[in-house]
């Protein structure tokens, strides 16, 4: 009795997956049909097969993992800097009027600025290698982190802080022991928003300025019209973003487990 009952459920799940993925399959099918039937030149749009075949030689030729590691190193180091600085500044802004006075106009001026336009300056100041990219990523991510932390920390009920003070928490520990944990859900949310931003800035800065990483590897391939290689890099970046977003969702569930709703 058990078998026939389970069978439809498995089929149902497979069917659901197919129904979910059909637009993607459709896009790939149209892409393959258009290239196989010769409507476009492979230079402009290589066939799906050509892109897939390109993947393995690139993988064993150290053309995927190594540049990706460089890009991820830059993105994560920059992000870490931005998180530390942004959380600190955001908490200080919520606690001290003087910090709010000092940083508010700078944040509101710099927040909407397209940071990628600073690439030439960062290259001029910090060279073409890791440092300029890491700092550009940090510069891009620090403002959303400040805003997220500030919003979280200024929503903390005064009672929580007063209670801590009444129970003898010293002033310099209020920020680390009370305000930081209380605004952690907002910090994690900010992190979730800025993680893709960090990746995007690292990739784009590499595309603009060169100096290693997936972005500059892709521009290099494009310069020699190796379109299948360009596609492999685009897919690698797409998957990296997807996986990191997925991981971030998990991380959030684990860290802010005490927060019931979204």
């Amino acid at each position: 009795m058990r078998e026939p009952a389970r069978q439809p459920r498995v089929w149902r799940r497979v069917l659901d997956a197919v129904i979910y993925a059909y637009p993607l399959i459709l896009v790939i099918a149209v892409w393959e049909a258009v290239t196989e039937l010769g409507y476009v030149r492979p230079l402009f749009l290589p066939s799906v097969g050509a892109v897939v075949r390109q993947f393995w030689p690139m993988l064993i030729g150290h053309q995927i993992v190594e540049p990706l590691a460089v890009s991820l190193f830059r993105a994560f180091t920059g992000l870490a800097l931005a998180v530390v600085l942004g959380t600190g500044i955001g908490l200080a802004m919520a606690r001290f009027a003087s910090a709010r006075w000092a940083f508010d106009p700078l944040v509101s001026l710099a927040f909407p600025a397209p940071k990628i336009a600073f690439v030439p300056i960062f290259v001029l100041w910090f060279g073409i290698d890791h440092l300029s990219k890491i700092l550009l990523v940090a510069f891009t991510c620090v403002f959303p982190m400040i805003v997220a932390t500030y919003h979280g920390a200024s929503a903390i009920s005064g009672i929580v802080i007063w209670s801590a003070q009444a129970m003898g928490t010293p002033e310099h520990k209020i920020m680390t022991r009370v305000m930081l944990p209380a605004s952690l859900p907002h910090v994690i949310n900010g992190l979730r928003v800025t993680l893709p931003v960090a990746l995007i800035s690292a990739f784009t800065a590499e595309m603009v300025a060169g100096g290693g990483g997936v972005g500059s590897a892709m521009m290099y391939a494009q310069r020699f019209f190796q379109t299948p290689t360009v596609f492999v890099y685009i897919i690698v970046m797409l998957l990296t973003g997807l996986l990191l977003d997925l991981g971030m969702g998990r991380l959030r569930q684990r860290f802010v487990y005490w927060e019931q709703h979204d």
Binding site: I19, Y20, A21, Y22, P23, L24, V27, L43, F44, W101, A102, F103, D104, P105, L106, S108, L109, A110, F111, P112, A113, P114, K115, I116, A117, F118, V119, P120, I121, V123, L124, W125, P196, L199, I200, F203, T204, M207, V208, G215, M218, M219, A221, Q222, F225, T227, V230, F231, Y233, I234, M237, L238, G241, L242, L244, D245
Partner: protein
């Protein structure tokens, strides 16, 4: 600082301008620090040109029309992409929110392409569309689509059914429900999506200009950097920062005006 209506106009104006100066004092202090470091010679003044040289460069670029032309090109590309992306995004978001078939088709596509950095498509678009206006515009359209789609979709989905029922009970015809009830009720998230898209539009125009095109403020900054004309590079950058700041402020103003009938705490807190 609360200003009561009983105060004379002159005092109020004096107060508000004093407040404005006080508010922007940190920016002025930063500028003064910049100038001091530059004049002290601790850092090679080529790497950190003084404000006098940057402003002189800005003035020169403004006078010979170089700045206005390149800014115009960049703004044209950003806004063209933003406009197309907004229209398409609202349409797709609406379709997804109202029809299950559209939701099933666009949903997975949106979910998979959401995390792709759109600037990575620039090398491909250079192949397809060349180095003119189309490459940046198409990139901007793609980048602007997603926040607008998401804003519209969630906005329409979140319209309280009680509003729709009331409208129906009061005799609003079916075909007008969308225009009269759903869209106005979802205006806030749609506009928030457009505001995010506005930021994206500048970033993507400037990055694709730096990668691909021949003109535009991004290209100008990049070329000045390559040629060692650093004062001009900083001047171009200053112009970009100001334009981005002003257009964001303009967007907030527009949002306030369009949503003036809504009492939303979100908007006042955010702006």
């Amino acid at each position: 600082m609360a200003i009561t209506a009983s105060q004379p106009m002159g005092l109020r104006r004096w107060r508000s301008s004093r407040d404005a100066i006080w508010q922007f004092l940190p920016v002025l202090l930063l500028a003064a620090l910049w100038q001091a470091v530059s004049m002290s010679g601790l850092i090679d003044p080529d790497f950190l040109p003084g404000l006098d040289r940057i402003l002189a460069a800005l003035w020169e670029m403004a006078r010979d029309g170089e700045l206005a032309f390149n800014l115009f090109v960049t703004i044209y590309r950003s806004f063209a992409g933003l406009a197309i992306g907004t229209v398409l995004g609202v349409l797709i978001g609406l379709a997804m929110a109202t029809s299950r078939a559209a939701d099933g088709f666009f949903g997975p596509l949106v979910a998979t392409t959401y995390s792709l950095p759109k600037s990575t498509l620039v090398p491909l678009f250079i192949l397809w569309f060349g180095v003119g206006d189309i490459t940046p515009i198409v990139t901007v359209v793609l980048a602007c689509l997603l926040p607008v789609i998401v804003g519209t979709y969630h906005g329409i989905k979140a319209v309280p059914p009680i509003l729709i029922w009331s409208a129906q009970a009061m005799g609003t015809p079916r075909r007008l429900i969308l225009w009269r009830i759903k869209l106005p009720a979802a205006l806030m998230p749609i506009l928030t999506g457009i505001r995010i898209a506005l930021g994206f539009s500048f970033v993507l125009t400037i990055s694709s200009e730096m990668i691909a095109t021949r003109v535009g403020i991004g290209k100008l900054i990049f070329m000045d950097g390559e040629n060692g004309a650093y004062a001009y590079m900083f001047a171009g950058l200053l112009a970009v920062v100001l334009i981005a700041y002003l257009s964001d402020r303009g967007m907030v103003r527009l949002m306030r005006y369009l949503l003036r009938w809504q009492d939303s705490a979100e908007l006042t807190a955010d702006a």
